[in-house]
Amino acid sequence: MNAKQRFPSAMRCDRRMAFAIFAAFIFIVVTPAAAHAYVGPGAGFAFLSSFLSLFLAFVYSLFAFLTWPIRRIYRLVRGFKIYRRAKVRRVVIAGFDGLDPDLATRFMQEGKLPNFARLKDTGTFHRLATTCPPISPVAWSTFMTGVNPGKHNIYDFLAREPGSYLPFLSSARIRDVKKRLKAGRYKLPLGKPQVKLLRKGIPFWHFLGKAGIFSSVIRVPITFPPEKFAGVLLSGMCVPDLQGSQGTFSFHSTRDLSDEKPEGGQCLRFQSDNGRFRSHIPGPENPLRPDEKAPLRVDFTVTLDSASDRVEIEIRGRRFQLRPGEYSDWVELEFEAGFGVRARGICRFYLKQARPDLEIYVSPVNIDPSRPALPISHPLIYSVYLSKLLGRYATLGLAEDTWALNEECLDEEAFLKQCYLIHDERTRMFFDALEKTPRGACVCVFDITDRVQHMFWRFIDESHRAENQEMSRYQGVIEDLYRHMDALVGRILSQIGNGVLIVLSDHGFKAFSRGVNLNTWLRQNGYLALKEGFEQSAEWFAAVDWDRTRAYAMGLNGLYINQKGRERGGIIAPGEATRSLKQELREKLEGLVDRETGKVAISRVFDSEAVFSGPYHENAPDLVIGYAPTYRAGWDSVKGKITGTVFEDNQKAWSGDHCIDPRMVPGVLFSNRRLECDHPAIMDVAPSVLDWFGLPVPPHMDGRPWTLASEKV
C-alpha cells in the first residue's frame, strides 16, 4: 500500500490558503492606494498576513456572534429536556491504559498517591472487569460501545484472513486506488484510496452528539479513521505511520549493521564523506511508481563537532544540533514522489552516542498533524488546530517506541524520555479539551502507563528472567509513573468543578517472564502438521501443511480451528466436530504445566461461543487462551512461527503484560462521585454516561449503567 496514494487531502489547506491570499491580493490591486504608502513586498506580506487573519477571524466571529442566539435558542429548546433530565453537566473520563489496581492500592496504602486516595476515600475505587481477551484495542472498543467483542468485531490487534491464513490489522483497512493512468514510468492514481474502520458498534459520544451534547475525544484507541459526530476527536492507537506500518523506526550507525535486522525498525550504516556522515530516512513507497521497490527517502548529513560530543544534523536545508542523550524537536520531512506530489511527515532524532561510533535513532515518521496525509481527526481541522496551538505532536497510534528499546536501539533512559515527551503533548491536549468542553463529555486516553509498565516491569518483578543489571536504577520508574498520574488527577480535580470525573484503566498488569509457543505445542500434540521435510516453520505458517492441521494459534490469545468451509484448507467440519475438538483442546490446555518451573502456564481457556455474542462472533478466535500470570503467548507463536520449544524465557525488555486470563488483570475505576455498582465492568462505562446525561441506554448495549450518588469530592 502506497502512502501517498492514500493522502489525497493533504493539499486542501494549501489550496484554500493560496486562494485566500490570491483573493486578498486582487482586492488590494483593484482598490489601489497611493503608491508612496507602500513600502515593499515585505510590508505587503506582513500586512496581508495579519490582515487575512484579522479578516477571517472577524468574519468567523461575526457569523458566530450573529447566529449564536439563534443556534443557542435552537439548542436550548432541543437540549433543554436533555440537560433538565441529566444528572450531570460534564463527564470527564481520563483513561490510564493499563493502570494496575494492585499497584495503585499498594502505593495508596503507602501514601504515595494522595489524589487517588482522595477519590477512593470520598468517591469510588473498584477493580474494573476487563474484556476477554484483555487487550487494549478490545477493551477500549468495548469501553466506547458498551458491547462485547462479538458486537464490535475487535478481538486482537490482528485478525486472520481465513482464505490465506495471513494476518491483517483488525481495526482499519486502507485500500489502494483501483484505477491508474499510465504515463511513462509513472502510474498516476485516479481517485482516492479508501480508509475503512473495521470496528463495529456505535461509540457513546455519537449518541450524545445526536442529543445535542458536545464531546471532546482525545486519543481513544480504535478511532482511526475518525467517524463524524457532534464533537471533536483525535484518533489514537492504530493510526499508522507514513510507511503504513504501526511504527517503523530507523537506526543509523557508523558500525557495520548488515547482520542486524531489528523488529519494528531498520538499521542503516552511515556513509562517511570528508568528516561528514550521510544516511537517509526511509519513507513510504512512491505512490506514483507503485512497482518501484525502493521506498521514497529523505537524506540527511551529520557533522561531528571535534571539540565536543555535539553533532550537527542537516536535513533538507535545516540544521540543528544534538548532544548525546538528547531528542530533537519534531522535524518536518517531505518525501518527493514526482510531479510536485509529496508525502509529509514528522520525526524526532535522538543522538544515542557520538563516539566511538556515531549512533542516531530516528523515530517512526508520524503523519504530520498540521498537514495530515490521512484523516486522523474529526473534523479534519482539529488535528491542525492542536498542532497550531500546541506545536507538532506524535500522531502514530503506538507512538512510544517499545520495539526500539526491545532491540536495544534505544536505552531505558531514552525510552522514558520519549514516553514523557509524548505524555506532555497528550496532557496539554487534554487540558485544552477540558477548557473547550464546559458541558458534555471529555474523554482522553493516556498511553504512558501501559508502555512504561510493559518495558519496566522487569525492574519490580524478581521472577523475571531477563538480565536485570540496572535493577536499582530503574526500580522506581513505575512508582514515579504512578505518582505522575496522581499529580495529573489532582490537576484535573482542581479544574473539573461540578463535573463527574472517571479515572479508569482497560486492564491491569502482570509480569511476563515465560512465553508459550502454542503452535509448537499444537504440533507436538498432533494438532498442527508441517510439510514434509520441515521441522520448524517461518512466520505466518509458511511450512504448515493445512491438509493435516486441525488447529492453529495466531495473535496474542487466539486459537483457531482449521474449519472446513471457513478456512481455505479447513479439515474440521463445523458443528459437533468443531465443538468436540474445542473441548478436547480446552481440557488439554487448561492447567498446562511448564515443566521447567513447575508452574501452570494456562489457567483457563475460553470458548468463544460462551463469551462472545453478536453479529460478528464468527470472526472471533474459536478459543481464547487465558494464560496464567508470568506467562503469555511466545513472541514466535504470535506471528505463526513454529519452533522447537514450547516454553521459553522472555529475554526482551518487554517484561510486563496483560494478555492473559482476564480475571487476573482487571483495570481500575476511580471517581469523584460515589457510584453504586457491583462488579463494575469496562462495558458499563458507555451506558453509564448515557444514563447520566438522561439518555436512554440502547438495548443492544451489554453493559449496565452505574447509579450516580450526588456527593462529590
Binding site: G40, S49, T67
Partner: protein, 298 residues
C-alpha cells in the same frame, strides 16, 4: 540670493554657474551613487520594453525583501505567533456554540495579531528607507514617458511673489523651439511656454528672471531614462523624488520649473497598468517564490 551667471554650452544649451560654490545647492553624493547604480542596472534594458526592466527590478526587490525578513526578524517567534492566530481562528470554527470560547478566541486573535505586527516592525523599519529610495528611482523611470522628437510639451515656471512672472523670459538651446507665445497666469503666479522637441538629447532650457538663469533638464529620447518632472526648492520630499536634479536656490523668486512629460502605462499583455501595480504583482510573486525557497516566515 547667490549671484548666478550662465553660459552657453557647445550644444547651445545654457548652463547655470555658481560663483560661490559654498552656497550652491549640491546633489547628495549618496543619492548620486544610488542613481548611478540604478542607471547601471537598467542599462541592458535601455532600448527594450520597459516591462522587462520592471520585471527584473521587481524580482530583485521581492527577493531582497524576503532576505531582509529572513534575517532581520525573529522567525521562530513569528512562526509561533502565526500558529497561535491560526489556532484561535480554527477554535472559532470548531467550537461555535460556546460564546465564551469564541469571545476568548477573538480576543486572542487580536492580541496575537498585534504581537505579530510588533515582530514585523524591525524588518519593516530596515526596509523602509531602501524601499523609499527604490520607489523614487522607479517612479523617475517608469511613471513618465520621455519626449520624442516632434513632441510638444509645456514648460511651466512658478513664482513665489505676484508680479515676478511678468519679467520672466525663456532661453532655449538648439533642438528645442517655442511654438507659441508665453502664457502668463497671474492668479497662479505662473508662466507657461509651449515648446517642441526637434531632436533627441538632454536639453537645459533656462528661465531668465532678473538677469539670473534657472535651467530645467528636458529629455528627448526613445530609451528608458530618469525623468525629473519638477525642479523645486530644497525639501525632504524632493531629496527622494528628484535625487538627480539640483534644487532651486532658496532665495530665488522661482518656486518650481516643471515639464509636463506624458504619463506612462506598462503594457502587460492585453492590459495597461500603472508601473507600481505591475511592480507590486511581480514583486509579490517573486517574494512568494523566495519565501518558499528561503523558508521565510511571514
Amino acid at each position: 540670493m547667490p549671484e548666478l551667471s550662465y553660459t552657453t554650452a557647445n550644444d547651445g544649451s545654457i548652463v547655470e554657474g555658481y560663483p560661490h560654490r559654498a552656497h550652491a545647492p549640491q546633489r547628495s553624493a549618496f543619492l548620486t551613487l544610488i542613481s548611478g547604480a540604478f542607471d547601471l542596472f537598467f542599462r541592458p534594458f535601455r532600448a527594450a520594453n520597459p516591462a522587462y526592466a520592471l520585471v527584473a527590478i521587481s524580482f530583485v526587490v521581492g527577493v531582497a525583501a524576503m532576505l531582509v525578513f529572513r534575517y532581520a526578524s525573529n522567525q521562530r517567534a513569528m512562526r509561533r505567533i502565526k500558529n497561535r492566530i491560526h489556532a484561535h481562528i480554527l477554535e472559532v470554527r470548531l467550537f461555535p456554540d460556546q460564546l465564551g470560547v469564541v469571545s476568548r478566541a477573538y480576543a486572542r486573535v487580536v492580541r496575537y495579531t498585534f504581537l505579530y505586527l510588533v515582530y514585523t516592525l524591525q524588518p519593516l523599519l530596515i526596509l523602509l528607507l531602501p524601499m523609499l529610495i527604490v520607489l523614487a528611482q522607479l517612479n523617475l523611470r517608469f511613471s513618465r514617458l520621455p519626449l520624442r522628437p516632434g513632441d510638444s510639451f509645456i514648460l511651466k515656471a512658478k513664482f513665489t511673489h505676484p508680479g515676478t512672472d511678468a519679467a520672466a523670459s525663456l532661453r532655449l538651446p538648439l533642438g528645442l523651439a517655442l511654438t507659441a507665445p508665453p502664457l502668463h497666469i497671474p492668479i497662479l503666479r505662473e508662466v507657461d511656454w509651449r515648446i517642441r522637441a526637434n531632436t533627441e538629447g538632454s536639453f537645459w532650457p533656462a528661465v531668465m528672471v532678473a538677469g539670473n538663469a534657472f535651467t530645467k533638464r528636458v529629455v528627448v529620447s526613445s530609451d528608458l531614462a530618469a525623468l525629473y518632472v519638477k525642479r523645486e526648492r530644497r525639501s525632504w520630499l524632493n531629496w527622494f523624488s528628484a535625487p538627480g536634479e539640483r534644487t532651486l536656490p532658496a532665495a530665488t523668486p522661482l518656486r518650481a520649473i516643471e515639464v509636463n512629460y506624458a504619463r506612462r502605462a506598462i503594457h502587460a499583455g492585453p492590459f495597461e497598468i500603472e508601473w507600481w501595480v505591475f511592480f507590486l504583482i511581480v514583486a509579490f510573486a517573486s517574494g512568494l517564490v523566495a519565501k518558499v525557497i528561503l523558508r521565510v516566515e511571514l
